[in-house]
C-alpha cells in the first residue's frame, strides 16, 4: 500500500560496498528507504562493476561476460553490470579520488552530512586513505561506521585477502558439505557468506541508529564475514564440541530423515527435493510413486531402518521419480503432507505462477542497461515499503552534481575545478586499476 514513509526515510548512508556482500547491504538499505551514496572513483575500478578497464573478448565470451548486458564490451560496460545494477538499485554514485587531498577533504565533509558509512574494502584500506574511524568519528561524532572485511579488523588473518569461497573455507563451511563420496575439489562454492554479511550490515546500521537515539553517539561496528557465516554450520561445530564427532561432507543426507535428498525426474536436468519426516509420510510417498510395496519392506519400516538403509531407500525412490514430472509430483506429495519441492530453474522463475502472484519480479529501466526484470524487495512491508517502479542503479559518478553542489554546496567554479583535476568524473581513466 505504501501509505506511510519508508522505514529509513531521511537516513543517509555512504557506501563502499563491494562485490556481493556490500551490494547486498545496500540493496536492502535502499529498498527500506535510506539514501545510499556509493563512493567511487575514476582512478580505481569498483570491483562490483569490473576488475578490468577493458574486458577482452575472450573474457566477455566466457562466464565473465554473462553479467554484462548482451556481453557488450564497449565503453561504459561498467554501468551495465548485473550485480551492480541489482545491488545498487535506488542508490546514488559520487566519484571522489580519495588518494588526493581534495577528494579526501570532500569525503570528510560528506561524512558530516551522513548517518552511516559502510565499507568492505580490504582491512587496511581506510587507514591508508586516512579515513579510519578516529578521523571520521572526530568529524562527525554521530556517524555510524560499519566495516566488514572477510576476516575482521583484528587477529592474525585480518590482512588476509579473500572472496566468499576463502571465508567459507576458513570458517569450516566447505568441509561439511558437498558430495559425500567425492573429494572437496568437487564441492561447489556456496558464496552465501557474502549475502549473509551484507544482511547483517543492513541490520547493524539500523541497530546503531536506534542506539544513537538513546546515546546521541555513533559507533564503529565490525563484522567478520567468516564469523558471521560460521553460525550456519553450528550443527557440525556443536557436534564436534559436544561429542568430538566430525561427520565430514554430508551430501544430501539428513541426520534424522530418510528418504531425503534430490531425486531425478522426467525431462532434461529436472529434479525434485523430498524430505520424508515420518512413517506416514513414507507410506504416502510410496503410494504416490507407485511403489506401495516399499512401505511394507522390513528394512524401511521405521525411520531408524530407513536411515540405516538410506542408500537403498533413496535408490528405490529415485528409480520411480525418474519417470515423473517434478512439479506435479511435488504438488501430489504436498497434498499428502510430505515436504517436497521441484528444483526451480532460474531461467524460468520470472514465469513462476506463485512468484508472479506475489509480484516478486519487477521491471527497472536503467538509462544505459535498458529494461529488465529484477528480484523484488526481499520482504513485503505492508505500509512503508518502497513500491515499483524502482529507481535504477546509478551510472559511475551520476550524482556528482547532486552530492557536491546539492549536499556540500560547492559552486559551479569549484565543481568544474574538481572535474579538471580529475577528483571527480563520470568515466574511468585509461589508467584506472583494480
Amino acid at each position: 500500500m505504501n501509505d506511510r514513509r519508508p522505514p529509513l526515510d531521511g537516513i543517509r548512508v555512504l557506501a563502499q560496498g563491494l562485490v556481493w556482500a556490500g551490494p547486498f547491504s545496500t540493496v536492502i538499505l535502499s529498498d527500506l528507504g535510506a539514501e545510499v551514496i556509493e563512493v567511487e572513483s575514476i582512478q580505481h575500478l569498483n570491483p562490483t562493476r569490473t576488475q578490468m578497464r577493458h574486458i577482452p573478448d575472450v573474457v566477455m565470451e566466457s562466464v565473465g561476460g554473462t553479467y554484462y548486458v548482451n556481453r557488450d564490451p564497449s565503453e561504459g560496460f561498467w554501468n551495465r553490470q548485473a550485480w551492480f545494477n541489482y545491488g545498487k538499485r535506488g542508490c546514488k554514485s559520487v566519484t571522489l579520488n580519495l588518494h588526493s587531498d581534495r577528494g579526501r577533504e570532500l569525503f570528510i565533509e560528506l561524512v558530516k552530512h551522513a548517518d552511516a558509512f559502510i565499507e568492505n574494502n580490504a582491512a587496511g584500506v581506510v587507514d591508508s586513505l586516512g579515513i579510519d574511524w578516529d578521523v571520521l568519528h572526530a568529524a562527525n561524532p554521530r556517524l555510524i561506521m560499519v566495516r566488514f572485511p572477510g576476516f575482521g579488523i583484528t587477529g592474525p588473518y585480518s590482512h588476509h585477502k579473500g572472496y566468499g569461497s576463502n571465508m567459507e573455507a576458513v570458517a569450516g563451511h566447505t568441509m561439511v558439505r558437498g558430495y559425500a563420496d567425492a573429494d572437496p575439489s568437487l564441492t561447489p562454492a556456496s558464496l552465501h557468506g557474502d549475502p549473509n554479511a551484507g544482511a547483517h550490515v543492513a541490520w547493524a546500521v539500523q541497530a546503531a541508529l536506534l542506539a544513537r537515539e538513546r546515546t546521541g553517539e555513533g559507533q564503529l561496528i565490525e563484522i567478520s564475514q567468516s564469523e558471521a557465516v560460521m553460525q550456519h554450520i553450528a550443527y557440525d561445530v556443536l557436534d564436534y564440541t559436544f561429542n568430538g564427532r566430525e561427520t565430514g561432507q554430508r551430501g544430501n543426507h539428513h541426520p534424522a530423515f530418510a528418504p531425503y535428498g534430490v531425486f531425478p525426474c522426467a525431462g532434461h536436468d529436472r529434479w525434485i527435493a523430498i524430505a520424508v519426516a515420518s512413517d506416514a509420510g513414507f507410506a504416502a510417498l510410496t503410494e504416490i510413486i507407485g511403489a506401495p510395496e516399499l512401505a511394507s519392506d522390513e528394512r524401511f519400516a521405521t525411520t531408524i531402518g530407513r536411515l540405516r538403509h538410506r542408500t537403498e531407500v533413496n535408490a528405490e525412490v529415485g528409480e520411480r521419480t525418474r519417470a515423473m514430472q517434478n512439479g506435479q509430483l511435488a504438488a501430489a506429495l504436498q497434498s499428502r503432507g510430505v515436504t517436497a519441492s521441484a528444483l526451480a530453474h532460474q531461467q524460468e522463475m520470472h514465469e513462476d505462477e506463485h512468484l508472479q502472484a506475489r509480484g516478486y519480479f519487477n521491471t527497472i529501466t536503467h538509462p544505459e542497461a535498458g529494461t529488465h526484470l529484477y528480484p523484488g524487495p526481499l520482504a513485503k512491508l505492508e505500509h512503508t515499503a518502497a513500491v515499483p517502479p524502482f529507481e535504477p542503479a546509478p551510472t559511475l559518478g551520476q550524482h556528482n552534481e547532486y552530492v557536491l553542489k546539492g549536499i556540500l554546496g560547492l559552486d559551479e567554479g569549484a565543481y568544474q575545478k574538481l572535474i579538471e583535476d580529475q577528483v571527480i568524473g563520470d568515466t574511468y581513466l585509461e589508467s584506472a586499476t583494480a
Binding site: 514513509r5 556482500a21 547486498f24 527500506l32 573474457v59 562466464v63 553479467y67 548486458v69 587477529g155 592474525p156 588473518y157 590482512h159 569461497s165 573455507a169 576458513v170 569450516g172 566447505t174 575439489s185 561447489p188 557474502d194 549475502p195 547483517h200 541490520w203 536506534l210 538513546r214 559507533q219 561496528i221 563484522i223 564469523e227 560460521m230 550443527y235 557440525d236 561445530v237 557436534d239 564440541t241 559436544f242 566430525e246 554430508r250 544430501n252 539428513h254 535428498g261 534430490v262 525434485i272 515436504t339 528444483l343 526451480a344 530453474h345 532460474q346 522463475m349 520470472h350 506463485h354 506475489r358 526484470l373 528480484p375 523484488g376 526481499l378 512491508l381 505492508e382 505500509h383 512503508t384
Partner: protein, 402 residues
C-alpha cells in the same frame, strides 16, 4: 553489557531456524525477547540436536542452544482461549512480534494481525514463512533443502553430470533468517515512529532467491545476457593460474589467483624468473599453453606444506589462499581464538558449553551472548509481571494452558 537494542521488547513466536535467528540477533544485542513455546515439547529445534553425549533432552539440543541465546522462555498453549488472551497481554509490552508459523496459522488461531494491532498499535508484526502469506504455494511445507530447491539455487549447485547438492545441513535457513532480520528491525522502527502497526510478509523462498550469492546475480545475469553466471557446468579455467581446491600435506586449501597477482604468485612458489618471462606473461589467460607447467610448479610448492603454512605464506603477500578448515580446526583456529569468537556458557543441564559468539562487534554498545533458557523457565515470572497470582498460575498449569 548493554547492546544497541537495550530497552526494546520482542514477543517471539518463532520456531525452527530462520525465525529464531531473527530474534536471536535482538536478544544478543540487548533487547528483551520473550519466546513463546508449546507446553511440553517447545520449539522444534529442541528435538534437532546435536545433544551432548547423544542423549536427547529438550533443554540441551545444540541447535536450540545456539539459536536462542539470551531469550526468556514462556510456555503457552495457543489452542486455548486463555492462552491466546495471555499472548495478547504479552503483546502489549512488545515493540515487535515475530512469528514463523505455517502461513495462515495466526488467522486460524484467531490471532490475525488486527488482533495484535488492537492489543498494541505501535508494534510491528513480522511474519516469516516458507512461501509467504499469499500465492498458490503459500500452504506448502518446506525445509532447508526444499526451500533452496524452490529458490532456484539448488539447481545451480553441484556437478553437471550429477544430482545437485545441498549447502550443508540447515544452512539456507540461517541465511533466510539473516535476510529477514533487517526487515524486522525496519518494521519495528516504522511502527514505533508512526505509532501504527507495520506488518512484514517475509517469504524464505523469495529471500533466498534474491540473495547475493548465486541467487539475485544469477537471475539478473540471465536477464542481461541470456546466460547464467553460475550453473552446474563443466569447470572452466578462468585463467592459467591455480583456482579452486587443491590437496596439501594435511588436508585441502582453497585458492583464487587472478592474472594481475601473477608476480606475487611467482615469488611465493619460488619461480621469480617467470615474472619477466614473456611467454608466461602473454599466456596468463591461456591455460592450454602454460596451465600444465604452472600447476606442476604450484603442486611442488603446495604438497609439502600444511594448509596453515601455505595460507600464511600466500596471504603474507596478498594472494588469497585459505585453509579448508574442518570443525575441529575451526574450534582451535588461532584467528578465531585470538578474537575470542567462541563463548563459554554454563548451562544447568548441558553443562559447560562453547557456542559461536557475536558476529557483530559494536564499539559502544557491544551486547553479549547470554545463556539460552530451559523450556518454560520464565513462565512464572512473566505471568506474575502480567499480574497473575501464584494460585492462578498454578491453575493455568493444571489446565495445560502453560
Amino acid at each position: 553489557m548493554p547492546g544497541p537494542l537495550e530497552g526494546w521488547h520482542v514477543l517471539d513466536l518463532t520456531q525452527g531456524i530462520a525465525g529464531p535467528y531473527v530474534t536471536k540477533l535482538y536478544a544478543d544485542y540487548g533487547a528483551e525477547v520473550v519466546k513463546v513455546e508449546r507446553p511440553g515439547a517447545g520449539d522444534v529445534s529442541r528435538r534437532i540436536g546435536p545433544f551432548p553425549g547423544d542423549r536427547p533432552d529438550v533443554d540441551t539440543s545444540g541447535m536450540f542452544l545456539t539459536l536462542n541465546t539470551g531469550k526468556r522462555s514462556v510456555t503457552l498453549n495457543l489452542k486455548t482461549r486463555t492462552g491466546r488472551d495471555i499472548l495478547l497481554q504479552l503483546a502489549r509490552h512488545a515493540d515487535v512480534v515475530v512469528e514463523s508459523f505455517r502461513a495462515g496459522t495466526l488467522e486460524r488461531l484467531d490471532l490475525a494481525p488486527e488482533r495484535f494491532a488492537e492489543a498494541n498499535p505501535q508494534a510491528a508484526l513480522v511474519r516469516i514463512s516458507n512461501f509467504g502469506q499469499t500465492g498458490p504455494m503459500r500452504d506448502f511445507s518446506a525445509d532447508d533443502l526444499t526451500a533452496y530447491a524452490a529458490a532456484g539455487i539448488l539447481q545451480v549447485t553441484g556437478e553437471p553430470d550429477r544430482e545437485p547438492v545441498a549447502l550443508g545441513i540447515y544452512t539456507p535457513l540461517f541465511l533466510a533468517g539473516a535476510i529477514a532480520a533487517p526487515m524486522a528491525l525496519a518494521a519495528m522502527r516504522a511502527a514505533h515512529r508512526d505509532g501504527q502497526q507495520e506488518v512484514v510478509d517475509f517469504s524464505i523462498q523469495e529471500g533466498l532467491a534474491g540473495s547475493m550469492d548465486r541467487g539475485g546475480p544469477n537471475l539478473v545475469s540471465f536477464q542481461y545476457s541470456g546466460a547464467l553466471m553460475v550453473e552446474r557446468r563443466e569447470r572452466v579455467l578462468i585463467n592459467a593460474l591455480p583456482n579452486g581446491v587443491f590437496p596439501c600435506a594435511d588436508g585441502y586449501i582453497q585458492v583464487t589467483t587472478q592474472v594481475n597477482w601473477f608476480d606475487r604468485f611467482c615469488r611465493v612458489i619460488g619461480h621469480p624468473e617467470w615474472i619477466t618471462d614473456e611467454r608466461m606473461r602473454t599466456n596468463l589467460n591461456n591455460p592450454l599453453e602454460i596451465g600444465g607447467e604452472v600447476e606442476m610448479a604450484f603442486y611442488e610448492w603446495l604438497l609439502p606444506r600444511t594448509k596453515q603454512q601455505a595460507m600464511e605464506e600466500a596471504q603474507a603477500v596478498g594472494w588469497p589462499l585459505s585453509a579448508l578448515n574442518t570443525p575441529a580446526d575451526v574450534i582451535r583456529d588461532p584467528h578465531f581464538r585470538e578474537r575470542g569468537f567462541f563463548v563459554d556458557i554454563d548451562h544447568p543441564r548441558a553443562g559447560h558449553i562453547e557456542l559461536p559468539g557475536l558476529a557483530l562487534r559494536f564499539s559502544g554498545t557491544p551486547g553479549e551472548l547470554r545463556r539460552p533458557p530451559l523450556l518454560g523457565e520464565h513462565t512464572f515470572d512473566e505471568l506474575q509481571t502480567l499480574g497473575y497470582a501464584p494460585s492462578e498460575i498454578a491453575a493455568l498449569r493444571a489446565q495445560n494452558v502453560i
